[in-house]
């Protein structure tokens, strides 16, 4: 009970209070399914994310959110905040949370289809769209989709917080994030230089 009050208070302070007609705490409790109420303090009522507390969830698929919560529970994905948070989800809690946030509208990004642009003057855009096969690096958009819009098990990168994308690429490198089949994402992340990690994080965060 105490934690709920705390959460709602935080929520109202951060972000949502700026909306023109902010629902009252009681109304929010009715809108948000109970298992997701804990999430909104760091991820926002609309899943819009609260940097640097929590990444954007709006635009991620139901399948991806569920899988990641299971990974936190199993310790496949290690994070001091998210592991205990995920443990609070019992029964169909994961499903409710995934349903709630995956239904939130994603930020609008115009998809640029691979192959439209031939020559990239920007090394980062080239890496995202054409990869660097001399290092065995595939293009990011192959799995994450045009403009990194994401789908299924592949998270949306477009419009995600740069700081979050960066910490995740570093987590793949250090092994605190796992759960990719055959180590596919770790394999990619490990081939990226520190400068490329920064550049890619900024590139996808700022796609319009």
């Amino acid at each position: 009970m105490k934690i709920k009050t705390f959460v709602i208070g935080l929520t109202l302070c951060s972000g949502y209070a700026a909306a023109s007609v902010a629902p009252s705490g009681k109304q929010l409790m009715e809108i948000i399914p109970q298992p997701a109420q804990l999430c909104v303090s760091c991820h926002g009522v609309e899943g819009q994310g609260v940097e640097p507390l929590g990444p954007r969830l709006a635009g991620l698929s139901k399948q991806y959110i569920s899988t990641q919560l299971q990974h936190f529970q199993a310790g496949v994905r290690q994070n001091a905040t998210m592991m205990p948070m995920a443990m609070t989800l019992q029964g169909d809690g994961i499903e409710q949370v995934a349903n709630y946030f995956s239904a939130k509208p994603a930020n609008e990004v115009k998809p640029v289809i691979r192959g439209e642009q031939v020559v990239f003057n920007d090394d980062t855009a080239r890496l995202a769209y054409q990869g660097d096969w001399s290092r065995g690096l595939p293009a990011c958009v192959t799995c994450h989709g045009p403009s990194g819009l994401g789908g299924g098990l592949f998270p949306r990168l477009a419009g995600q917080q740069a700081s979050y994308i960066k910490t995740q690429l570093l987590a793949w490198q250090s092994g605190t994030r796992k759960g990719d089949v055959d180590g596919m994402m770790a394999n990619v992340a490990n081939k990226l230089t520190a400068a490329e990690v920064d550049a890619l994080a900024n590139y996808f965060a700022n796609l319009k």
Binding site: R114, G115, Q130, G136, H144, P146, F154, G183, M184
Partner: protein, 355 residues
């Protein structure tokens, strides 16, 4: 040193091809999809490296090369015009046709026109690409000398020629060719080449550049099995290609392609053969090569993928048995009974409109 080693290997490759052609009746099938010659991969092999795309020159010729790249990577822009499935050329010819051992375009360009003894028939490079549209793309090929075939030929030529010139330390832009020359392909004595290159390698050597096709792997220890292949598929493939093999579309684009069913290659495509698919998979999958499948796993999963129904073989006259005898029985499942159904009898339409 590097260059001469490459020549030697190319020469060895050509011997292998000739030996195969004599013993292998498959080379003489009446279609444009004869199996690619495959050689085992050689450790520490060096491969032709195409120039970066930023080196494509300005002007009309460069525009054709750029269009070729765009068509190759986003082949779906030709959907319903020439393409009848959800694939893009780059799905099987990785890194936009530049990657060695993923049937690179630069390898193919110097291997056509390909002569066939039996019917004394020659397939030009553009005819080979027409085969890709009719079979791999389950579509209807653009006409000879069409802008699309010229562009794809120009892109293939530019990749190969630039790479060969760099190997021979010839600087400057890739010489421009007329459309009529481009679509023929480069495996001919009268193909225009800088003099140094013409002297450096024979036509046959250029036709067998290391890295061409998909590398051959040994036959499996146990006969390949779709049942075991399914386990491989579930463990290593379905995250990207989906539980039902139908790939995954994001913003309408199947970057992760469907492997069987109505949206994939048809029963006439080279990839429907278990051996071709096994060679491709062993070398190129899982995407980015974070791990290596065993030979047995590659054969088994190729058998699993290719023992599902797909669009009809365009060469079939309506009788699966007849088409099987004429074009199949060739390390493939066309006309073979799987799970109580003869594959090919419930195949999907050829060149359907996008629904």
């Amino acid at each position: 040193m590097k260059y001469s080693a490459m020549l030697l290997l190319a020469a060895m490759g050509s011997l292998t091809v000739q030996a195969q052609a004599e013993s292998d009746p498959l080379q003489e099938r009446p279609d444009k999809q004869a199996p690619l010659p495959s050689f085992p991969k050689i450790p520490d092999q060096t491969y032709l490296t195409p120039r970066p795309l930023s080196a494509i020159p300005e002007g009309a010729f460069g525009d054709k090369v750029r269009l070729g790249y765009q068509l190759f990577v986003n082949t779906q822009q030709l959907r319903d015009k020439y393409v009848g499935n959800e694939l893009n050329c780059t799905n099987c010819h990785m890194d936009a046709g530049r990657k060695a051992n993923a049937s690179p375009l630069w390898g193919a360009y110097f291997a056509y026109p390909a002569y066939r003894k039996k019917d004394n028939k020659v397939s030009s490079f553009e005819e080979r690409i027409q085969g890709c549209f009719n079979y791999s793309m389950n579509g209807k090929a653009p006409a000879s000398a069409s802008p699309e075939l010229v562009a794809l030929s120009a892109y293939a030529y530019w990749l190969g020629m630039g790479g060969l010139m760099d190997e021979a330390n010839i600087s400057g832009p890739v010489p421009e060719l007329s459309d009529a020359e481009l679509v023929k392909g480069a495996k001919r004595e009268d193909f225009p080449l800088p003099e140094i290159l013409a002297k450096a390698m024979t036509v046959e050597q250029r036709a067998n550049l290391p890295g061409r096709g998909y590398p051959e792997i040994p036959k499996p220890e146990q006969a390949y099995s779709p049942e075991r292949g399914k386990e491989v598929y579930v463990a290593h493939c379905q995250t990207c290609h989906s539980v039902d093999g139908q790939g995954q579309a994001i913003a309408g684009v199947y970057a992760l392609p469907p492997l069987w069913g109505p949206k994939s290659y048809n029963w006439g495509a080279g990839m429907h053969r278990v051996n071709t698919a096994a060679f491709f998979i062993h070398e190129n999958m899982p995407f980015g090569k974070s791990m290596q499948l065993t030979n047995q796993q590659a054969w088994d999963v190729a058998a699993y993928i290719n023992s599902h129904e797909r669009p009809q073989d365009p060469r079939s006259k309506g009788d699966v048995k007849q088409a099987q005898e004429k074009y199949h029985n060739d390390s493939d499942y066309y006309g073979v009974e799987v799970d109580g159904k003869v594959l090919g009898t419930e195949s999907y339409p050829i060149f359907p409109k996008k629904s």
